[in-house]
């Protein structure tokens, strides 16, 4: 059955191995460099460290407010994801299960907003926030992030809610349960996988964003991790190992979550790949 043209399993393995290697190169470089001293890096930029040092990590944690930046990012992620999820669940539930005028338009508009680039919105929001004194406030940034991730949340939830069998709603309705009770007691428990996906994808988006962060969180005290990184890499740009130690620390939270919850992540990414 095999023809000469058929790629062998060895060839397939080699291709995948190479792809995996490329995918990991920056991570590997980042980690091994972080373990080198400045002197060793000056001589040897490629090899593994001969005598690994942890000094870089120590000085990053002591001298730079990484943990503080992470806290800021964490606040924004938690606030924006919770707000957006609550609003999207309500909206998507109505869109998926109720009849009302403008329903299809609302869904179509909301879905198309998914693809509108955030940069288009910043000018008026920045001017408005300046006027309201909302630049560099958590609530201001949370509102923007919540808005930006909501179209995707609605899209995903509507799709999911529509797969919930109608009989379930009807049975609950007959039992005298109100809409809100049905949503909370019947639909949400069933939607846990979709919600996990949402939270994963949306948290990644907010955590990783730079544009909104540098424009709307300008105070030193409100800086997010991503904005902090751009300052940090500029300030220590002469100490590559130290910079890499910072990057290892900065990527650690998401990386650890990814390794621990790869199933949820992969499912989340595969169904939410649009973001």
């Amino acid at each position: 059955m095999r023809t000469p043209l058929q790629p062998s399993n060895v060839a397939k393995q080699l291709v995948l191995l190479f792809a995996a290697f490329l995918a990991l190169v920056p991570t590997i470089y980042m980690v091994i460099t972080a373990l080198k001293s400045d002197e060793e890096y000056a001589i040897d930029k490629l090899g593994f460290p001969h005598s690994p040092v942890l000094e870089n990590f120590r000085s990053v944690l002591v001298d730079s407010p990484f943990l503080y930046w992470m806290l800021n990012s964490g606040i924004l992620v938690a606030g924006a994801v919770m707000l957006s999820t609550a609003i999207s669940v309500l909206g998507a539930y109505a869109i998926a299960t109720m009849q009302f005028r403008g329903r299809d338009t609302l869904l179509a508009v909301s879905t198309s907003l998914m693809a509108v680039p955030p940069v288009v919105m910043i000018v008026p929001l920045f001017v408005l926030y300046t006027r309201l004194n909302m630049v560099s406030t958590y609530s201001g940034a949370i509102l923007i992030y919540a808005g930006l991730i909501t179209p995707f949340s609605v899209y995903l939830l509507v799709t999911f809610f529509r797969t919930v069998p109608r009989e379930l709603y009807e049975a609950a309705h007959i039992d005298g349960a109100g809409q809100f009770t049905i949503l909370m007691k019947v639909v949400l428990p069933l939607s846990l996988p979709a919600l996990v996906t949402l939270i994963v994808v949306n948290s990644l988006y907010v955590w990783n964003d730079l544009l909104i962060a540098i424009i709307f969180m300008q105070d030193d005290a409100k800086r997010t991790l991503m904005a902090g990184i751009s300052v940090f890499s500029g300030r220590y740009n002469n100490q590559v190992p130290l910079t890499m130690a910072g990057m290892v620390i900065a990527s650690a939270p998401m990386f650890i979550l990814y390794v621990l919850f790869q199933k949820q992540f992969i499912r989340g990414l595969m169904s939410g790949a649009i973001k």
């Binding site: 792809a19 609302l106 288009v120 929001l125 730079l210 998401m254």
Partner: protein, 290 residues
């Protein structure tokens, strides 16, 4: 239906409509208004089409547009890489689950982090050039981030590296949902690997590939800010060699304090993406019909 129950749906969607109106609706209306004004502070006098004239008359704007267009060249490469890797993964070769975890990693790492790392790797006396020299490929040891001619291509390498992971994720999701019996049947019919790929798998994936391409076009035109900003040391560059429309808007708003100019550029960017979004919808509908 009681009047109150007729109102219920609207109560449910009210917060949603309010949020979308604030974050999308308000700004999208205001950029049109601002784009016709000479804005200082929060407002300014109407000046008709002057902002558009100024933007369209500035060579820097066109240079930025050109850079965005150049980035489009990355898309075929991304599609090819994503296709190869996702097809191999979908065949469930030994260790495919581990490979899958690894090839998704670029998408989990934040762009600013990767950009900082890549920037060090591509420094003139950095590890990439060291490796090239070690392999006696000195002629390839370019000034990756320092030369105006090369810098944008270097950013493109980074974009391909990360955005391909998205392609793999999307394509794999589609491949895993394919009806396996069709492929099995083809195997039994004696169709070889290439034949199956070309005649059975690819046609099934046409929708998702188109979808990915349109998404990528939007990315290249309007969502590469983080890459450019970090690789170019907070401003793009050297010089204006990696300036893109997003950075143009950012600079006009933040560094030149010209919200009117930034709005005019935003309006044009929005109109272009608007067309693409329309396209996206058609493509998606087709993707779903497959």
């Amino acid at each position: 239906m009681t009047p109150s129950s007729r109102l219920t749906p609207y109560l449910y969607v009210l917060p949603l409509v309010a949020l979308l109106a604030f974050v999308f609706g308000y700004p999208l209306l205001r950029i049109f208004e601002f784009s016709f004004k000479m804005v200082r502070g929060i407002d300014g006098p109407w000046i008709g089409l002057r902002n558009y004239q100024l933007v369209l008359g500035q060579s820097l704007f066109w240079e930025s547009v050109l850079h965005n267009l150049q980035l489009l060249l990355a898309i075929p490469v991304m599609v090819a890489i994503s296709l190869i890797v996702s097809v191999l993964l979908s065949e469930r070769v030994a260790g495919w689950k581990l490979y899958r975890i690894i090839v998704f990693v670029p998408f989990v790492l934040a762009i600013p982090i990767v950009a900082v790392v890549m920037k060090r790797m591509f420094q003139f006396s950095g590890p990439v050039n060291e490796l090239l020299r070690w392999m006696s490929l000195d002629f390839m040891a370019l000034d990756w981030i320092g030369s105006s001619d090369v810098a944008l291509w270097t950013v493109m390498i980074l974009i391909i590296w990360r955005e391909s992971a998205l392609g793999i994720i999307l394509f794999l999701a589609r491949l895993l949902s394919l009806d396996e019996s069709v492929i099995e049947a083809a195997k039994i019919d004696g169709a070889n690997w290439w034949h199956r790929l070309w005649h059975i798998i690819l046609p099934e994936m046409r929708g998702v590939i188109e979808f990915y391409m349109v998404i990528s076009v939007i990315t290249m035109l309007a969502a590469v800010f983080s890459y450019i900003y970090i690789m170019g040391g907070g401003r793009g560059g050297p010089g204006t060699s990696t300036e893109v429309v997003e950075l143009y808007i950012f600079n006009a708003l933040i560094r030149s304090s010209l919200p009117g100019i930034a709005s005019a550029a935003s309006v044009m960017l929005f109109l272009v993406t608007g067309v693409l979004i329309f396209l996206l919808f058609r493509v998606r509908r087709r993707a779903e019909n497959f």
